[in-house]
């Protein structure tokens, strides 16, 4: 025969240890809302478990209703934690309503004598919170892009799957308990044996461990998001950074859809502009080019800043005419938007075709040659160097 008190003590201890680790390690690093809600869920699980341990003593009349309130609170906090990840506010009214209903049902059920006072309502309320939480996680999984190209080991997905698994497991358990409670009734010994304290504690320990894992994975994802962004994008133009452009271009080069056009772009007379009007004017020109270029290649390729005033574009298409059109569009808008005009703001382009069979560096060198041709032919033009025949 198992001992319910032992199971409760184990659950309370696991919750306490998870709380201390999560608070000191994860919450203090992120200070994120959802981490705070998860701490509160752990606290209320621990206290409610401790309060249930007084069942059978004279304190039961006070502590049993309190434990029920905290139990429904802990599931509501799980729900709030997931809502916070989605950027939504806690549903205070729903929480107050649920606590009031559970408290009424418990008080009406003679908590002094009956350990199961208000249990049916409590289980139904907890189940409701968990279903809502599981639903929110599902929405999160659907909303997030399947994978972030900047981050091949996408820990946010693992984290969300862990959270989903734990909320579904938790919810399924309370669903089963509710069915058991309705079908068997509190007088049946099998209710305690199958759906009672011991089994619930074991399920809760497992849920706690999985969900804490999911929450700390998620925190890590959030914490590195800014670093990943800083590493992947150029701070001034908002285009890809050099390293990120080369990495992604390398990936795309290996795509099976055939050759692609690689274009190098260089702002004309940039040094003159910088020297004559100062670095701030130069920065504004770069910024303008960045935004024009980003719009022009959106959805049809990638663009990065690979040097001071040098940019690179890799189009998904292998058709040179497409590249000419893109370059013309960029030049036209940049000419109109570049804030400082010393004559007309122009751009030179050098293009080549890159195929799967050659290295990216070789293609970059050819694009560089093409750019050199464009510069020497008088700038403000598009030149092409074909791939040498094999």
């Amino acid at each position: 025969m198992v001992d319910p008190l032992t199971a409760r003590i184990v659950l309370a201890l696991v919750a306490l240890v998870a709380l201390v680790l999560f608070y000191v390690g994860t919450y203090r690093a992120t200070r994120a809302r959802y981490a705070l809600w998860w701490c509160l869920a752990l606290v209320s699980t621990g206290i409610s478990t401790a309060a249930y341990s007084f069942n059978g003593s004279t304190l039961q009349v006070v502590l049993n209703p309190l434990a029920n309130m905290l139990a429904v609170g802990s599931t509501a906090f799980v729900w709030f934690a997931v809502r916070a990840i989605r950027g939504r506010r806690p549903a205070w009214a729903a929480l107050a309503g649920l606590i009031a209903v559970v408290l009424c049902a418990t008080v009406l059920g003679h908590p002094a004598e009956d350990e199961w006072a208000g249990a049916g309502v409590l289980i139904a309320a907890m189940l409701a919170c968990l279903v809502l939480a599981a639903h929110e996680v599902r929405m999160l999984l659907r909303e997030r892009p399947r994978s972030d190209p900047a981050d091949p080991h996408d820990s946010s997905r693992t984290a969300l799957l862990a959270l989903y698994a734990s909320s579904v497991l938790f919810g399924a358990w309370y669903g089963a308990r509710l069915v058991g409670f309705v079908v068997l009734g509190t007088d049946d010994a099998r209710l305690e044996e199958w759906f009672g304290t011991f089994m619930t504690s074991v399920v809760l320990v497992v849920v706690l461990l999985i969900a804490t894992y999911g929450m700390s994975e998620l925190s890590h994802y959030e914490l590195t998001r800014e670093l990943r962004f800083r590493a992947s994008y150029d701070y001034l133009t908002g285009l890809l950074s050099r390293g990120e452009f080369l990495a992604r271009a390398e990936q795309r080069r290996a795509w099976p859809q055939g050759p692609k056009v690689l274009v190098e772009a260089d702002l004309d007379h940039f040094k003159t502009l910088n020297d004559a009007l100062g670095h701030a004017a130069g920065d504004r020109a770069l910024l303008a080019f960045g935004s024009v270029c980003r719009q022009a290649v959106e959805g049809i390729g990638i663009a990065g800043r690979i040097g001071g005033e040098e940019f690179a574009i890799l189009l998904d298409s292998g058709n040179l005419e497409d590249a000419r059109v893109v370059a013309a569009r960029i030049s036209e808008r940049y000419g109109a938007e570049a804030p400082v005009r010393l004559g007309k703001a122009t751009v030179s382009y050098g293009a080549t075709v890159v195929t799967r069979g050659e290295s990216l560096e070789a293609a970059m060198l050819r694009a560089d040659d093409a750019l050199y041709k464009a510069k020497h032919a008088g700038r403000d033009r598009f030149e092409f160097v074909p791939r040498p025949a094999l």
Partner: protein
Amino acid sequence: MLDVETLRAIQPVITACVFALAFFGTYLPTRAPYAGWWSASAASAGIGSITHLAIDSWGDLAIAVGDALTVGAAACVWGAARSLSGRRVAAWWLVPAPLIVAAIALVEAHGDVAGMPGTLAVILGTGGYLGLAAWSLRGLLRHRSLRRGPGTLHAARVAIEAMVASTSIIVVFYAVRAVVYVTLGPEHVLYTHWTGPEATIVTVMLFFVVVTYSVTELSHLDSSLRWRDRAMRDDLTGLLARGAFMDLAEEALLHASGGGRRLVLVAADFDHFKQLNDTYGHAEGDRALRAFGEACRGLLRDDDLAGRIGGEEFELLLAETDLAEARQVCERLVAAFARSYDDSAIAAPTVSFGVAVADPSIPLPALIARADAALYQAKEQGRDRVVIADSES
């Protein structure tokens, strides 16, 4: 107070959960060796605790196998601790001790020994391996990259502290257990009450929870450090990016003003870089930048900072240096830079330097302006030279 049967029923569930999280959640995505060791430990402990449940049907054999697996689990914790500190553990190192413990258990089962056969051997074997693990982990507390750093590394720091603390606690627990067992015997109330199976199961379960959290956090340490590095560095030259250089230089100036350490700021700029680019193409220009970055990294000390501030502009912040030494550093940089072009048809671009001594009373932007003014003078005077800023200006 605690019921051992209940604990024995919960333990495999927790261990299975810990195994699943460590193996599927951490080891498979990251392939971190310590996560692998930790999964192995959880698996071994879990199977060990299930084997103990089969005593009724298997008898002494169940005890021996269970004991071996328990000690094996502790051995894997040592493996995890060693690989966390970057040292290797060969799997066969872990085989002998569990076999010896199992043999002792079998021998004692046939002899006339009080209590469970092999208990002392299990306590000593488990405690011993955990002690080795705690010893290996100690060094991690001084991990250089963890000493200072942004919030990303905070969690990893806490994870290591939690792991060291929990391992130390469990080692102390096993030591007390062994002492009580030897001096008072397995029947004594002190042993059964405070260090018996109930207390052991609870302690081990909580230890598992702590280590699983820590292993999860630490598995992110590598990727955090990598992203931090990528965010801070210019990836052509490998030197600090502009923002990171400014932040770190600001911090260094702040420290120096307290400790009275001398810092020298050097501004460097390639001569005629535009011509190089236009004549030989951007690839040549990139090569020059890369070579200069390499020269800087090869020459500077740990406390020095080097950043690429613009296209061909660099700033160096030299620690514990005077003007004569700073001038020497510039000359050696130029020499190393030129050497990297030894096998090349063209020569390395020449470099102009402006040098300014840090003064606690002037902020970083003013210091940079001072070095830039000296650099401008170097360009005016014909390039390819070092000019020291007039400290009165």
